[in-house]
Each structure stands twice: as structure tokens, then as C-alpha cells.
């Protein structure tokens, strides 16, 4: 199995009364590992059925395949439908390239740094 690490960090109080998590993905998400590893993120969604905000920190992500993008699209749909928000931070150029070619950057905002991603989540929620 290709190596990938997913860690989930709680950002308490970024948005009052709502759960906000930073999902850090490092390594390579491919056919050999994505079905198993992505369940960590689905578990967070199950535990926070409403108004969950996820910031995907992709600084350490070296590779993702089309199935990984399918999961990201599915998570985006589930979370936004339940009143939450999903953004991407610090993706490498090759990751942004593949997200663009499948059209995902039309749905999910991508930011160069984590602070901008946090601000986007907080601002949108505050004005909603």
C-alpha cells in the first residue's frame, strides 16, 4: 500500500457554534489506499452531521488519482448540503492542475495558505 497520512485537527472557535477541522493529507492518495484512508474523513462527517467546515491542507500531498477526486467531490456535496463549507489550502501545482482539469476548482475554493482558507471559512459563515 502506498504511504499516505491523514491527520485531523480541530479548530475550536473559528466559527462560533460550528465544528471546523483541518484535514492534513501527506503522501500519495491512489488506488491502493484511498478507499481505506478516506474513511477517516467520512467518520468526521458522520460525527458532525450539520454545519461542518473542512479545510483540506494539501501541502504534503504529492499525488491524487481520479478516485480521490471523486471522494473529495462526494464529501463536498455532503458537507455543503448540510450547511457546511469545504476549502482547500496549500495544494502543490500538480495537485491544483489535476483538480482544475476535472473541474473541481469550480466548486471548491483553493487558497495558497492556511490563514486565507480559515478567513474564507470564517467570513462566509459570519455573513451567512
Amino acid at each position: 500500500m502506498t504511504e499516505v497520512n491523514i491527520t485531523i485537527e480541530d479548530l475550536a472557535n473559528l466559527v462560533q457554534g460550528q465544528a471546523t477541522k483541518v484535514v492534513k493529507i501527506a503522501g500519495q492518495l491512489d488506488e491502493s489506499n484511498v478507499d481505506e484512508k478516506i474513511q477517516q474523513v467520512y467518520k468526521v462527517v458522520e460525527e458532525n452531521p450539520k454545519n461542518l467546515n473542512l479545510i483540506f491542507d494539501l501541502e504534503g500531498l504529492e499525488y491524487m488519482n481520479s478516485k480521490s477526486i471523486g471522494y473529495l467531490t462526494d464529501l463536498y456535496g455532503k458537507i455543503t448540503e448540510a450547511g457546511g463549507k469545504v476549502v482547500i489550502a496549500k495544494a502543490r501545482p500538480n495537485i491544483l492542475d489535476i483538480l482544475q482539469v476535472v473541474g473541481l476548482t469550480q466548486l471548491i475554493q483553493a487558497f495558497d495558505n492556511l490563514e486565507a482558507a480559515k478567513s474564507a471559512v470564517a467570513t462566509t459563515k459570519a455573513s451567512a
Binding site: 500500500m1 502506498t2 500519495q28 491512489d30 488506488e31 491502493s32 499525488y63 488519482n65 481520479s66 478516485k67 477526486i69 471523486g70 471522494y71 467531490t73 462526494d74 463536498y76 456535496g77 455532503k78 455543503t80 448540503e81 501545482p93 500538480n94 492542475d97 489535476i98 482544475q100 482539469v101 476535472v102 473541474g103 473541481l104 469550480q106 466548486l107
Partner: protein, 177 residues
């Protein structure tokens, strides 16, 4: 520079590399590393295309693992680089997979998904059209004589330099909610 000249037509120098691997996604990490380094170090394609070819090969091999070759059989990858002209990549499976599909069926599936207005649903199905299709100039599906499929993609260097964005503004994503 080694070239072959016939009737005043200069043929570019060609390099062919063939890799045979067992039908197992475990090996794809090494194939991706090889592809990245090979394209970066031995072709004139810019780095962005090294990453793109990495994805193209990964998607095609995953397709072969899923549909074409049973566990225990092989997948063959062939790189053909015509110096300063094009890179051609072929993926061949054995046709022993439990979900095997023929060239005409795969072409139809590709054409259906490429049609304007097609919306992608679910986790899978984007790789062939959105990655392989978008990042290649030619894509050919063939039935192999001995069984199985051969998929060949070709990218010309001049096109890679001219249009390097590869962004399809017609993309549509339908969410499963």
C-alpha cells in the same frame, strides 16, 4: 545527434521503453516515480507534463487492473518518445479480468462521457475522460489479437507547449446528495 534520413526526410530519434508489471495497484507508486523521472530527465516536455503523464499512466493502469487483467496476470506499459516530437504511451492488458470490456465498448463509454452536458456522478469514472482524454492529443482503443485491450495515447510536444492549461470549461459535476 543520431537520426535516420530517408529521401531527405529526417526521422526523429526514438526511444522505446517497455515495462511489464503484475496486476496489482501496489506497483503503481513505482511506475509513477519512473514516469515522472523519465519524462523530466529524458524528454523535452516541461515538468508540468511529467506530472500529467504520471496521472495518465496511473489512470490507464488502474483501468487495466480493474477491467483487463486478472490478479496474477500482467500489464504491459510501453513508452515511445520521438525526440522533440511526441510521447506515445501504450497500456496492454490480457483480457482476463472479471469485468473485461472490449475496445468498442470502452470507446462508447468514453464518447458518452465526453459528450457535452454529461454529468459525472459517484466516486469513479472521471479518470479516462477528464484526465486521459484532456491531457492527450490522440487516444486509441484496440482489441489485442490474443485477447485483452491496448490503449494508446499520444501527446505532441508542440501542442503541449501551445496549450498547456488543459482546462475544460465544459466540465460539469453533479453531486451525490
Amino acid at each position: 545527434m543520431p537520426t535516420t534520413e530517408t529521401n531527405n526526410i529526417t526521422e526523429p530519434e526514438k526511444t522505446r521503453i517497455t515495462i511489464t508489471l503484475p496486476t496489482n495497484a501496489y506497483f503503481m507508486s513505482g511506475i509513477r516515480d519512473f514516469t515522472l523521472n523519465m519524462v523530466k530527465n529524458t524528454t523535452s516536455f516541461e515538468e508540468k507534463w511529467a506530472f500529467r503523464f504520471q496521472s495518465v499512466i496511473d489512470e490507464l493502469c488502474n483501468n487495466a487492473i480493474e477491467y483487463g487483467s486478472a490478479p496474477g496476470s500482467d500489464i504491459r506499459i510501453t513508452f515511445l518518445y520521438a525526440k522533440d516530437d511526441y510521447l506515445e504511451i501504450s497500456i496492454e492488458d490480457t483480457g482476463t479480468g472479471k469485468n473485461k470490456i472490449n475496445a468498442a465498448q470502452l470507446q462508447k463509454l468514453f464518447d458518452d462521457r465526453k459528450a457535452p452536458g454529461y454529468v459525472f456522478t459517484g466516486i469513479r469514472g472521471r479518470g479516462l475522460v477528464k484526465i486521459v482524454g484532456e491531457w492527450s492529443d490522440e487516444l486509441k482503443f484496440e482489441d489485442r489479437t490474443g485477447g485483452g485491450l491496448k490503449i494508446t495515447v499520444k501527446k505532441f510536444l508542440k501542442n503541449a507547449r501551445q496549450n498547456s492549461t488543459g482546462i475544460n470549461k465544459e466540465n460539469q459535476i453533479l453531486l451525490n446528495v
